[in-house]
């Protein structure tokens, strides 16, 4: 398929340019409030990117993500406090552990399809929350896990907020780069084919179950990473971080930004977080305003901000091609809109 050179260049430049801007931010402002918002946006973007892989690209709506976020967070917290392990090994173990739990859950739950899978995974999320809440001898329950030490790598201590900022920014960029790589790889195409039609994918000789499990485990690993980073940043944990509400928040970020687009998670998370901060002064009216905004948004921007942008560009590109070639190829457009190149 012929690629649009402009589109390609923009996409390639976006990462380094955004990285530079993001890296410069702590130099421009030392305002803790702004940096805190940025850090939270980064953390949630990592988790939402994971959700994007399974729900967006593979088409399996997993609602257990807050649970896996919680597992990652608590694993890191417990390893650093109770086992007194250093930061990096704890982070690695936390991520691997989340992936292991994810693979077990995936093997069981991915046999279900459609809404059954969605609700099953929702229940898995609730189970994880309840276990974290009730297993007091390990997690301290509702009292919360206090006193997680400051993350340290070698002699480098991430004590200041701008140090934390760079640490988390590093993992965000890593996540986005890996995601980009995955999406464009054969594995990524396999995920897309499963989303478009499981039967067709199977007929093509794709091992659907295996690919779905792979996508699921990868997505839980990202949720775990985000959770672990969160634990290292906030350094205090309560069971509430695994609450189902956070899963819905993530789904919301994903949908606002644009599901199955590479930049959707970042745009959606940033936009909604900033909007929520802005509505903070409205106190209890916040959700009263926010609920209807959400409904209106899914009505008029059903593919999210990046999604709408990509679609418009594709349509224009298609029309241009039509004029150049002046041959009727009615199948092409649908095919592209249905999946193909949804990464802006």
């Amino acid at each position: 398929m012929k690629k649009n050179p402009v589109h390609n260049r923009v996409s390639k430049l976006a990462v380094p340019v955004l990285t530079l801007i993001a890296a410069a931010i702590p130099l421009l402002t030392s305002n803790t409030y702004y940096l805190d918002i940025f850090i939270k946006v980064f953390i949630w973007t990592i988790a939402v990117s994971g959700m994007n892989i399974i729900a967006g690209y593979t088409g399996q709506l997993s609602l257990a993500h807050a649970g896996f976020f919680g597992i990652g967070a608590y694993a890191l917290g417990l390893l650093m406090t109770k086992a007194e392990m250093p930061f990096l090994p704890s982070l690695a173990i936390a991520v691997v552990l989340t992936g292991l739990v994810g693979s077990v859950v995936g093997v069981i739950s991915l046999r279900l399809k459609g809404h059954y899978f969605a609700i099953f995974s929702l229940c898995v999320g609730v189970i994880i929350l309840l276990i974290i809440e009730k297993w007091e001898s390990l997690t301290e329950g509702v009292r919360g896990l206090l006193g997680i030490p400051i993350p340290k790598i070698g002699s480098l201590e991430f004590a200041t907020i701008s140090a934390q900022y760079y640490l988390i920014l590093f993992f965000l960029i890593l996540t986005l780069l890996v995601n980009r790589r995955v999406i464009h790889s054969l594995v990524g195409r396999t995920f897309l084919s499963i989303r478009n039609s499981e039967e067709l994918a199977e007929a093509l000789g794709i091992n659907v179950m295996q690919s779905k499990i792979l996508a699921f485990v990868y997505s839980t690993v990202l949720a775990g990473l985000a959770g672990a980073l969160y634990a290292g940043y906030i350094r205090f944990l309560g069971p509430d971080i695994a609450n189902v509400e956070h899963t819905f928040d993530m789904l919301l970020y994903l949908l606002v930004g644009g599901i199955s687009t590479l930049w959707g998670p970042l745009v959606g998370t940033a936009l909604v977080t900033v909007l929520m901060q802005w509505l903070q002064s409205w106190q209890e009216y916040r959700m009263i305003i926010f609920g209807p905004i959400l409904v209106i948004l899914v009505m008029f921007l059903p593919y999210g901000i990046i999604g709408a942008f990509v679609r418009r560009k594709m349509k224009r590109q298609w029309e241009q091609e039509m004029q150049e070639n002046s041959i009727e190829r009615p199948g092409m457009r649908d095919q592209r809109l249905a999946g193909g190149e949804l990464d802006a």
Binding site: A55, L61, I108, S109, R111, L112, H115, Y116, A118, I119, F120, L122, C123, V124, V126, I127, L130, I131, K134, V244, F248, L251, L252, L255, I259, E284, Y285, R286, M287, I288, F290, G291, P292, I293, L294, V295, V298, M299, P302
Partner: protein
């Protein structure tokens, strides 16, 4: 003594199960017609409880008329939601109507908090006396819950099977295209379904409110459990919702007594995981189309 305790738990399980079944029935009806998992259903349940409470405390209504008003208002709210939110989204990707349901959920809860505060309220039913039945002590209210739920279920069943308007709902749930072919108006049916489902939620909430408390997030757990039930019973299946509700109620009250009351809420989800691991389409799934 042991035997008595056991039967007491059976009765408690039936009480819980009646409430769960009524809520799950609403969700399964909506799912059957619109393929929409309505996450806001638990919050309609909460609204129902509040309305009954206010009808009784502020306007001095008796318990039963208060319930009637609450059910009627919720039927209207349900229909309004269908018309304003879910109908326009019917052709959008499924995930969008789920998100819209989340939006509705956030809105209703925030509204309730704003208007009525986050306090816990007690709803005093006029039927607090305990009566003795086959050696068991049970409050009248609990007996009323069990009986009223059965009456409502029989009523719903008669409505769906015996009346023309009810059988249009059945027809749409069974086969959408077929229903269109015989001239059934899809919009009317989904409007009606939303109304009935919300009414059932209000009835369940008003019945259960005297034995629980009334507060803005009271619907969240019930909602989740009702989803567990309809997945267990097969999504869209009416008998599945009823049976699943009672199974869950019984499992919860028995495991709460004999295993550990701390983990009572966990029972529902563990049962779900176990059953779905063995039978991925639920207990009474409709045939795969």
């Amino acid at each position: 003594m042991e035997v008595e305790l056991f039967f007491q738990q059976i009765v408690n399980g039936l009480v819980l199960g009646s409430v769960y079944s009524l809520v799950a029935l609403g969700i399964t009806l909506i799912y059957g017609i619109m393929q929409l998992p309505n996450f806001a259903h638990g919050h309609l349940y909460m609204l129902g409880a509040y309305l009954t409470l206010f009808m009784m405390t502020m306007y001095g209504f008796h318990y039963w008329p208060a319930i009637l008003v609450s059910v009627a208002v919720l039927v209207l709210i349900g229909m309004l939601l269908e018309r304003l939110v879910f109908r326009p989204l019917h052709n959008a990707p499924h995930i969008n109507s789920m998100i819209a349901a989340v939006g509705v959920m956030l809105f209703i809860e925030a509204l309730a908090r704003k208007m009525w505060g986050s306090d816990y309220h007690r709803l005093d039913s006029p039927y607090e006396d305990a009566i003795s039945l086959f050696g068991l002590t049970i409050t009248q209210q609990r007996l009323i819950i069990i009986i009223a739920a059965i009456v409502l279920m029989i009523g719903l069943n008669l409505f769906l099977k015996r009346t023309v308007i009810g059988s249009t709902i059945e027809a749409m749930a069974q086969n959408r295209e077929g229903a269109f072919l015989v001239g059934i108006n899809a919009n009317k049916v989904s409007l009606l379904t939303f109304g009935i489902a919300s009414g059932l939620a209000a009835a369940a909430a008003s019945l259960a409110a005297p034995i629980n408390l009334v507060y803005p997030s009271m619907g969240a757990m019930v909602n989740l459990k009702a989803f567990v039930i309809i997945v267990l019973g097969g999504m869209g299946s009416i008998p599945g919702a009823v049976l699943g509700g009672y199974i869950l109620g019984l499992a919860e009250s028995i495991s709460g007594t004999y295993i550990n009351s701390e983990y009572k809420d966990l029972a529902a989800f563990v049962i779900l995981v176990l059953i779905l691991t063995l039978k991925p389409t639920g207990l009474f799934a409709k045939e795969a189309r």
